[in-house]
Amino acid sequence: MRLRVHIFNLIVSLLFISKGYAQQDFNNYKTLRSVGEIPKDFFYSTSDKITEQIQTGLKKGNLTKSQEKIFLQGIYYGIDELLHSGMVIYGDEISTYVSEVAEKVLKEKHPDLKAKLRFYTIKSNESNALSTDQGIVFVTTGLIAQLANEAQLAFVLGHEISHYTENHVIETFEYKNHLKGHGDRIRQLSIYSKDKELEADKLGVALYNSAGYSKSEMLPTFDVLMYSYLPFDEIEFPKNYFNSPYIYIPENLFPIKKYDIKAVEDYDDSRSSHPNIKNRKAQVTKEIEKFEKWGDAVYLLGKDRFEYIRNLSRFESIRTDILDAQYADAMYSIFLLEKEFPNSLYLKRMKAHSWLGLAQYKNAGSINETVDRSSELEGEIAAMHYFIKKLKNEATSTLALREIEDIRLTMKEDNEMNAIWDRMIKLVSEEKNFDLKKYSDKTFEEASLSFQKSIVKDTTAATVTNDEKLNKYERIKIKKNNTDPAVFDSSKFYYYALTDLLKDEEFNKRYNAYKDSLHKIEKEEEEFDKLSFSDKMKAEKAMEDSLGIEPLKLLKSFILVEPSAVSYSKGGINYEASDKLEKKYGQAINSIGKDLEMSIYNINSDQLEKIGTLGFNERSVLTCFLSQMTHNEKVDILPVDYEYLREIEANYGTSKVVFTIIEHSYRPRFSKGAILLLLYPPALFGYLPIPFMRGNRTELNLIVLDSQKAKIDNGVSYYFREPLNLHILKARMYDIFQNLEIAK
């Protein structure tokens, strides 16, 4: 028996190794990457996919040729955009697990169908699953993080696969076309869509039943969907969570009341695509009764495996929150996971990222982008949002510095932590109200004890602290001067939080260096303001000249991520023209790069077949890097995939990453005033060429990111009116590359 177990374990291990991944160590968690051979869905061009589909014909539907084209373009371009968004992964542990659960769901009723379906994971905190007409089933990490067991996943998959088998996507498209010109289209479409959802639920029940899962887990699946906007658990956030020997957080910063959870089952779904939970539950209850035989399995692949997969999703949810600057949500998820993984370095790093982000957003006056509004507060997580919102800028920065320092002390050699620490010091040095002189050399506890002693001493001596003897103006004076030993202001709790850092040589060195550099700039600006206009011009010229020689250099080597192009026509995006323009644009960049002896490393979706999964993963990380860096231009963010970016730098030998997009449209616009020209018709001949010649509109944006410094190095934004051909694109790129200066 023991030998059998060993052999079984060995086989399982070999299976995992052959897939290219090993089980994650949550203490040293690394974000999930795609694994194995890159599927055709990811590297096959969209236009080729459409051409192939037109040749093979649609599975169902009675569409005209032009409708078929619109349908296929809408579907394929939309899905490909998602596939290349940097959020989708394949071959990873979650996708593999979902695929295996789907196999269980399909084995009785559609044993051959599994081979046609592909399962991919979307790194998103939206709880969702979707299937496409092409046979792709997406499941989000947000959904798996919320599920209670494998059976619930099986039901979701049964539902989604039923959408595919019943061709609901194309049917809905047909219905939409049929509705053109009818009155309340949204309402009618909603009714139709809800019918399809109920049908998928019904068929999903049958698939679920055939796999042998327990009927008891079906209705709770709807609860998962209903409450999925809340974190993956509802545990009270303790008011002393942030307290430490160095810091004490007053309880009045937390809400007194509890925030109710507002979701209800019977909401108004008259304009929704999905029926409300009450209706879905009612139908599924009826369907359950139709089946006599039910299995009792909650797990067919094992509870441990499910919980492991769910933890992967939950760890991913933290990264996603940080990418989206949802720091309060990330902190609450970290709080939930810390209980199970108290030694996780990953959680510590993510906590430090969250604190840094919070302090940066608070300092930039953008905190409302990262926390919920008062009216949105619900459940236990409300305490976290409330607390963060209530903290003042100075308190947030101090608390962030304190927390980051505490984490750093436990992992002093960690590069990522040191980078976060350094960025935090830079932030406080730039903060106007942050002044180390205000900070006490005593901890809150020491100060509080000292205060208690002084009270006792003063009372014994029967001195001035007797408030009754003072008049109004003396009291005001004492309060203003804060000299009364009885006035121990706990709202300034953060002034006692940096006692150790005040004495830390390295901290002081960095803080003072940043402060000096800031003072220098401020002084220069002050002096500049005092100059006369002509002197200002001279000074600017001198500065430009000196910059041109010393600290700037031209871009010589970079990673080019997916030069993107969008061509608009009258009806919106012209996909075919966009594809052509995109190719031409990429060609122009590379051709000019070659002429200028630049080293350009392309990471494009049309090269994915060649660069494979490694390139795909790098592309995803760089896309997320761009997303994070451009979330808020006032915030100097540190990328969440810090270590992964180091790997990419090592692979390519450059830290410069270029993203660019070009958008083009041709729309002659006639001035309304031109109608007056009818009074003298010959003048029309003079006017007419102008709108036609000026009809081209092109916007070119290019941004250079430095992954090592985690900052935007430079960028250009052009708006021009010439028609686009290869030479024009090349001329533009020549001009950009010859002049784009980046920091050394």
Binding site: G686, E722, H727
Partner: protein, 266 residues
């Protein structure tokens, strides 16, 4: 990617590029163009179309030239990314129809058929060129402004002319047929005029050195004085002042001209 990336860029504050000039770094340009203008409008509105004649096989034919044409040579330099200066010279060719009904002192009207008079204009013009702030001259759309000098010179050749009819003032008409192959008598000197130009131009590169260009020239041509006008002295039917007035009349109505050609950058 197509939709996601534009959204990112909405949030980015971009830095401006340092100033660079020219097309692939080339700042000098030579342009050779041809200009084409349809005189239909001019003729329609000046009511001359009915009596304009062209010579064909030794006879006069009531017909309009459909196009006037010209040639231009420009030499320019881009001073900034969005600015340039040019010197333009060119030749323009057009025709004017003489007055066909001429009053004589004897109270007799001569109904004439006369071949249109060919005129050549030589012009010299300094120009400045502007593009939008994101322009990259000489590529793309640009606006040109210029003020120059035109020299009008009638073309010497044997013009055909006939007196078609002779009408007496009491209404009686006696047809006559007088044909001359040297209707106008030349020894004319060029007269000077001024030209004011706005040009909307588009240049599209076809190689890394050569650009195809086209555009519309909006001109106002002004001949201030005819006091120096000479010529036509032996023409009994057409006075020199009449002819130069016709040229002036024509030129002030030559508002729009299409131009196209090639630009060479170096």
């Amino acid at each position: 990617m197509k939709l996601i990336v534009p959204i990112f860029f909405l949030f980015i504050h971009f830095f401006s590029l340092s100033q660079s000039k020219g097309f692939f770094g080339r700042r000098n340009i030579i342009e050779i163009s041809t200009t084409v203008q349809s005189p239909l409008l001019y003729n329609y509105y000046s009511a001359k179309n009915t009596t304009a004649y062209l010579a064909k096989n030794g006879a006069l034919e009531n017909k309009m030239p459909l196009l006037n044409y010209g040639f231009r040579l420009n030499i320019g330099r881009m001073t900034e990314r969005d600015r340039g200066i040019y010197l333009e010279s060119g030749l323009n060719y057009f025709s004017v129809a003489p007055n066909t009904t001429i009053y004589s002192n004897a109270g007799i009207y001569h109904h004439l058929k006369a071949e249109m008079l060919d005129v050549r204009t030589f012009s010299v013009m300094p120009k400045i060129e502007f593009a939008s702030a994101d322009g990259l001259l000489p590529v793309g759309i640009s606006n040109q402004f210029g003020i120059g000098i035109n020299y009008y010179q009638t073309q010497e050749k044997n013009y055909l002319g006939t007196v078609d009819s002779l009408e007496v003032s009491n209404g009686m008409t006696t047809p006559v047929n007088i044909t001359t192959s040297n209707y106008y008598d030349f020894h004319t000197k060029a007269i000077k005029g001024y030209t004011f130009l706005y040009k909307l131009s588009m240049r599209i590169p076809i190689t890394e050195r050569i650009l195809f260009h086209f555009g519309f020239r909006y001109t106002y041509n002004y001949i201030p004085s005819l006091s120096g006008a000479t010529g036509f002295s032996h023409t009994t039917a057409v006075s020199k002042t009449d002819m130069w007035e016709l040229i002036r009349h024509k030129e002030t109505r030559s508002l729009i001209t299409f131009e196209t050609g090639l630009s060479f950058c170096f």
